[in-house]
Subunit: 339 residues, 2 copies
């Protein structure tokens, strides 16, 4: 009985006893990233995007450090943030055709709109405030810059407050050469400024982790990935460090390769294979990672896998295991999953 108790305690308190695959979060690295971002973009200059972490405990840490305005990608994220008391100023930076769940929230809600239909959906759903979403070069959502003024007028006629514009320059977020990234950002923001001149309002919301320090046109930056990071953003030479990993267990060792229990269902794969220090990745299967380690590994060894894309990786997991060295000191639910 005492043995069982001690074993249960160990399970909670060291990495060795974690069921794998498991998300690990280093709170020191997290705080370093939050601090570095705060130094560059204090207070309302940043509107952290919660889609990267989907975790109200991380959002609360961002709020406590001075970033209290948030950005979401789904209605579920908006609901969860409001329920967690993080609803001082929530922007859904995405279009919806049914806004009724948003109108019901006890929080300050602003919704992106880019068409007559989405303006009408906002009004019908009981939303009070909107941003006009503008296409600044990424063929995704957003109206044409020259159509923004008429949409703002329509919104005002429907009784909506128009706080300004947003436009996401997502097509240049991963451009590795900084000069090229800056030039493309300037071109995108010229389109957003053109729209803003017609729309008015105090908010020009744009940007992301890749352009947080070269987008000097936006009044607020919608960055999310900086807080956790991944191998794609690591290539850009940004002042942020890797703060999360997928812990995996080596379950098989072959001739020149080994296999860990972390596969396609524990990793977002759209940016390709993950990274493991001191190893070359061969391929991922549903529940397996086959890799060639430089130094021998044995069955039972633990490895840390660095995901290629943070957002779709986190969305597969139910919780972060918060660590201090080899100790697991807390669990933070990934409580904003689903839609």
């Amino acid at each position: 009985m005492l043995w069982l108790l001690a074993r249960g305690l160990k399970r909670m308190t060291t990495l060795h006893y974690l069921q794998t695959p498991a998300l690990l979060l280093d709170p020191e690295a997290l705080d370093a990233n939050i601090g570095a971002m705060h130094a560059a973009l204090p207070g309302p200059r940043l509107r952290p995007h919660v889609k990267a972490h989907k975790c109200t405990a991380i959002a609360a840490r961002q709020r406590d450090a001075g970033h209290a305005l948030f950005c979401c990608a789904t209605v579920r994220e908006m609901e969860g943030m409001a329920a967690a008391g993080l609803g001082e100023d929530l922007l859904l930076a995405n279009e919806v055709v049914d806004a009724s769940r948003l109108g019901a929230l006890d929080a300050r809600i602003t919704l992106a709109v880019d068409s007559e239909t989405t303006v009408e959906a906002a009004a019908r759903g009981g939303v009070k405030e909107v941003l006009i979403d503008v296409n600044v070069g990424l063929p995704r959502c957003g109206c044409k810059p020259e159509a923004a003024g008429a949409l703002a007028d329509l919104a005002r006629r429907q009784g909506l407050g128009v706080r300004g514009v947003m436009g996401y320059e997502g097509h240049i977020m991963g451009v590795e050469e900084r000069g090229e990234r800056e030039a493309a950002c300037t071109a995108s923001m010229a389109l957003l400024r053109e729209a803003h001149e017609q729309v008015g309002g105090e908010i020009i919301s744009a940007g992301g982790t890749g352009t947080f320090d070269c987008n000097v046109y936006a009044s607020e930056i919608q960055a999310g990935s900086y807080v956790l990071m991944d191998t794609a953003y690591a290539k850009l030479g940004l002042p942020f460090v890797q703060a999360f990993w997928v812990l995996a267990t080596v379950i098989s060792v072959g001739d020149g390769f080994a296999v860990a229990d972390c596969g396609l269902k524990a990793l977002g794969m759209d940016h390709g294979n993950p990274h493991v220090d001191g190893a070359r990745i061969w391929f991922c299967s549903d529940e397996h990672l086959t890799f060639a380690p430089e130094a021998p590994v044995k069955v039972g060894d633990r490895i840390r896998v660095v995901p290629a894309h943070v957002d779709p990786t986190v969305a597969y997991h139910a919780r972060f295991h918060v660590i201090e060295g080899e100790r697991v000191v807390d669990e933070w639910p990934v409580d904003l999953r689903g839609w």
Copy 2:
């Protein structure tokens, strides 16, 4: 009040009111696939793999149609199947270094082992029976064929029942030319037969949806995807039909493209972009699918997205919405997620 009630009812009963993205399941197509598989591989000739659907309601449908032995990829899947009363004969076709959760289950449990460490883990965890997992050409788990006999001896010395061998020819599952697939399968199964001659036991477990009718060497086939299908398996000319989709809503329309609310967090992306009838896919973002439709679409339209890879797609969702035409008649939880 009555209006609200009617609206709530509608939400439950037609596709138009579903929150998107949402998994749709056509039970007629599902039953057709189960029936086609049963015609080819009746009763114990098939051991359906639950990793593709992670849903005990679908597993129960497979059991009721005559396939009562199941295959799992994770400990969580084994636990969920046992708890759902589907534990007549469960194989964990994967290696683990801690089998204690398996040993505690009220079900017939068989575990794959491929090393001394995993044999010892099985015995220590209270598992009673094992299969010797053999590498038949896919560099993943599995011992060398010539090492299988010694591992079986070790397992028997540890008090474990050795039911036979397994080997997954996953490297040839997607080979599109049938003759080539058959030849590669024959070569893989020669390795498994070599191992089986040393190991003994009544089970030779292998195969998958891509080799279900050309692997004539295995005593049982571990197919899973056939029941739901995806665009990758659709290329092989198999007698199975698409039985699930991700329903999405058009939220924005641009010049020559449209955007739906189904992105990287609703789709497994390792096999590339999904398919939409009558449209060319441009790209996916976290919560968006940008596509060029052949005929005009408008904001609010619903589209059905066919995933490129079934398993990691289903793992992102909490439930299947079971449909009859445009009506939603049931919800089946994806209750085997996590680890």
